[in-house]
């Protein structure tokens, strides 16, 4: 067996051990996930969706973090993955454990055959969070979901039903574990009822391995905005799928990733299934050092989805020759009365702007950091204002990350 096969065997043993504890309500989902993972395993770079993103770091994690439990008695003593995320007290009336409610939406928006890590998530399913935002309710403050920070494997599963006319800002916050021995494999499914409005913020930072699936279905006239903010990390993969399933629905998909090493991979898929829907994608990347970035955005306009309006843009700032960005838009358009555009760019810091800042007394590093923050700032400006109390912390981390990385690069 090669490393990957051994890692897959370990993970599968883990899944089978977890299955012994799976609550009855989740057993069907767990079985389905397990069957797919047993058949498909970890995705390899031969798959188009994974060709830029080797999952070797995840295999390595499995071999080092899960091996001990396996050697004694295969699977038997495997620790149960942590699937619970904390919900602030103010929102507890809307929250139930998945194991208790087992909503029909669970597994409905993410196809485990298409998303290998969603299959793994299901295969390890023990519990999760089910949120129901009642019709017409407007959440007074952002709903902050703090994902587990424990070492080892965490397997969060979130299902959100935003009923018609509700309004919410949700923050899915991945804390920064101190060590790299952490692999978080999260799956979130969101359904927006007619006229509902939601901002969904993914705050990602730290040293752990992270795979994040977010799948959203939007009914008529609903509005959804995602904000995927990623600061570094050795391996981050985001899959964001949006289905515009009711006419007049609109979405914005905003992304900012800043990395000076590691791999940051954003995959998006927007399905214009109904007429008169709008999608806007803006993903910005800032890559330095040995960082590798990937953006792959698929837009599909189905037959009959007339007057679809889809825009996609992926500007990137490359701060070093050793950094790399692969950007690939993919449009599949099966209707004739549509507006679709896409564009990607790779740029460097503007020398003229750098000189201008330096000529005003700012040191070279401070000037570079200011330009990078200016480039990134647009994505922070797009965040809802109610995030004010949460954001200063993130902005400070962002500034610190940029400045320390630029200083380190300058010192080389």
């Amino acid at each position: 067996m090669n490393r990957r096969e051994r890692a897959e065997a370990l993970l599968l043993a883990h899944c089978e051990a977890a299955a012994q504890h799976t609550p009855p309500a989740l057993r069907a989902a767990q079985d389905a996930g397990c069957a797919v993972f047993a058949a498909q395993g970890l995705p390899g770079v031969q798959l188009e969706e994974w060709r830029y993103s080797s999952t070797a770091p995840i295999a390595d994690f499995a071999l080092s973090a899960l091996a001990d439990s396996d050697s004694a008695a295969p699977g038997a003593s495997a620790p149960i993955p942590n699937s619970i995320c904390e919900v602030p007290a103010a929102f507890r009336d809307m929250a139930r454990p998945l194991a208790a409610s087992a909503p029909a939406l669970l597994g409905a928006l993410v196809d485990v055959k298409e998303h290998p890590f969603a299959a793994l998530n299901a295969a390890l399913l023990q519990d999760g969070l089910h949120l129901r935002i009642p019709a017409g309710r407007e959440l007074a403050e952002p709903l902050r979901l703090l994902l587990p920070a424990a070492r080892g494997l965490s397997n969060p599963r979130i299902v959100i039903e935003a009923e018609p006319g509700s309004r919410a800002v949700v923050v899915q916050e991945h804390p920064a574990p101190g060590a790299a021995e952490h692999f978080c494999n999260a799956v979130t499914e969101v359904q927006l009822g007619a006229g509902a409005d939601m901002h969904y913020v993914l705050l990602q930072r730290g040293n752990g391995l992270l795979v994040c699936n977010l799948a959203v279905r939007q009914e008529r006239d609903s509005h959804f905005a995602s904000h995927t903010l990623t600061l570094g990390g050795p391996f981050v993969r985001n899959d964001l799928s949006l289905s515009l399933a009711g006419s007049g629905a609109s979405c914005e998909m905003n992304g900012l990733c800043i990395a000076f090493g590691g791999l940051l991979d954003n995959h998006t898929a927007v399905d214009h299934a109904m007429p008169q829907c709008t999608s806007r994608q803006l993903y910005k990347g800032v890559l330095g050092g040995s960082a590798r970035g990937v953006f792959r955005g698929r837009v599909r306009v189905r037959p009959g989805a007339q007057q679809s309006d889809a825009q996609q843009s992926n500007p990137n700032l490359l701060l070093a020759d050793s950094a790399e960005m692969d950007s690939k838009p993919q449009l599949e358009i099966h209707a004739d009365d549509v507006k679709c555009s896409h564009g990607a760019s790779m740029g460097r810091l503007d020398d003229e702007a750098l000189f201008y800042l330096q000529s005003r007394g700012l040191g070279a590093n401070a000037a570079r950091a200011m330009l990078v923050r200016g480039f990134a700032g647009e994505m922070l400006d797009a965040l809802p204002a109610s995030l004010g109390p949460i954001l200063p912390n993130f902005s400070a981390q962002l500034r610190e990350c940029i400045e320390s990385a630029l200083a380190a690069e300058a010192a080389q």
């Binding site: 003229e352 702007a353 201008y356 330096q358 000529s359 007394g361 923050r373």
Partner: protein
């Protein structure tokens, strides 16, 4: 020291990229003086400004460039700024995503740090900026916009002069600050510049046209042609140039008659 020039340029030869532009400049500027440099397009005016400010790609080939006795070539652009050199850009860059307010305060605090002064907090800075903005009649909302982004030509020039008033440089170089301005804007900006004139400061005004010098009246006027100063005089020289144009310089006897083929070391002395 009181008598030694603030800026000393000796037999300065410099290139911009591959092109040899400055071919032997000699110029002394003392504290309190206002010098104007005039000349046709391509004569090297902006190259001189760039060399003084430390623009990348502008390379000194030979000669001396001393500011307050120190060799400028050894200093990075930000060090020159902190020592008190300021260049008002002909075409200032725009900085998307960075507000003017944030940029100007960061800049002023970098300069203040060098002077051993405490940094200004946001409130104190805004108070100071308001005064200076009034001096150049700059609309308030330009402070919360991204630096120079979408600014009109006139707004950019106001922003340059505003920065000069905030940073209070010892040597300010104005590179074609008059270009693209109507007469009212020109008057306002000249007033702003004149407010900074004083015994401890010097100004180097680079312009193609005499018009600006009606408002910022220089003590000395130098004419630059093909990378050398070919003529120097008092403020009346500007008027003479306005009447005659630059064409007569080409044939003026003894000044620059063979300039196109001239060997590099024979710059005219002021």
């Amino acid at each position: 020291m009181a008598d030694s020039p603030m800026l000393q340029i000796r037999k300065l030869h410099a290139r911009a990229g591959e092109a040899r532009i400055l071919r032997g400049i000699d110029l002394d500027i003392r504290a309190g003086e206002v010098h104007a440099i005039m000349g046709p397009n391509g004569s090297g005016k902006s190259t001189l400004a760039g060399v003084l400010a430390g623009r990348p790609g502008f390379e000194i080939e030979s000669g001396e460039l001393l500011f307050e006795g120190a060799e400028l070539a050894a200093l990075a652009p930000e060090e020159r700024a902190r020592e008190g050199i300021f260049l008002a850009f002909q075409y200032p860059a725009s900085i998307p995503g960075v507000t003017n307010n944030y940029f100007l305060r960061a800049s002023l605090n970098a300069i203040r740090e060098q002077r051993g002064q405490e940094p200004l907090d946001a409130m104190d800075f805004l108070e100071l900026a308001k005064q200076k903005m009034a001096q150049v009649e700059m609309p308030k909302e330009l402070m919360s916009r991204a630096v120079n982004e979408g600014f009109s030509g006139g707004e950019k020039k106001r922003n340059e002069v505003l920065q000069m008033l905030l940073l209070e440089p010892r040597l300010a170089i104005l590179d074609e600050t008059d270009s693209g301005l109507d007469i009212d804007a020109l008057r306002v900006l000249a007033q702003g510049v004149n407010a900074l004139r004083g015994p401890g400061r010097a100004l180097l005004v680079i312009t193609h046209y005499q018009r600006l010098l009606d408002y910022i009246v220089p003590d000395f006027v130098h004419v630059l042609s093909e990378g050398r100063i070919v003529l120097s005089g008092g403020k009346e020289l500007a008027h003479e140039l306005e009447k005659k144009g630059y064409g007569w310089l080409e044939i003026a006897p003894g000044e620059s008659g063979d300039s196109s083929e001239a060997s590099a070391g024979s710059g005219a002395q002021p």
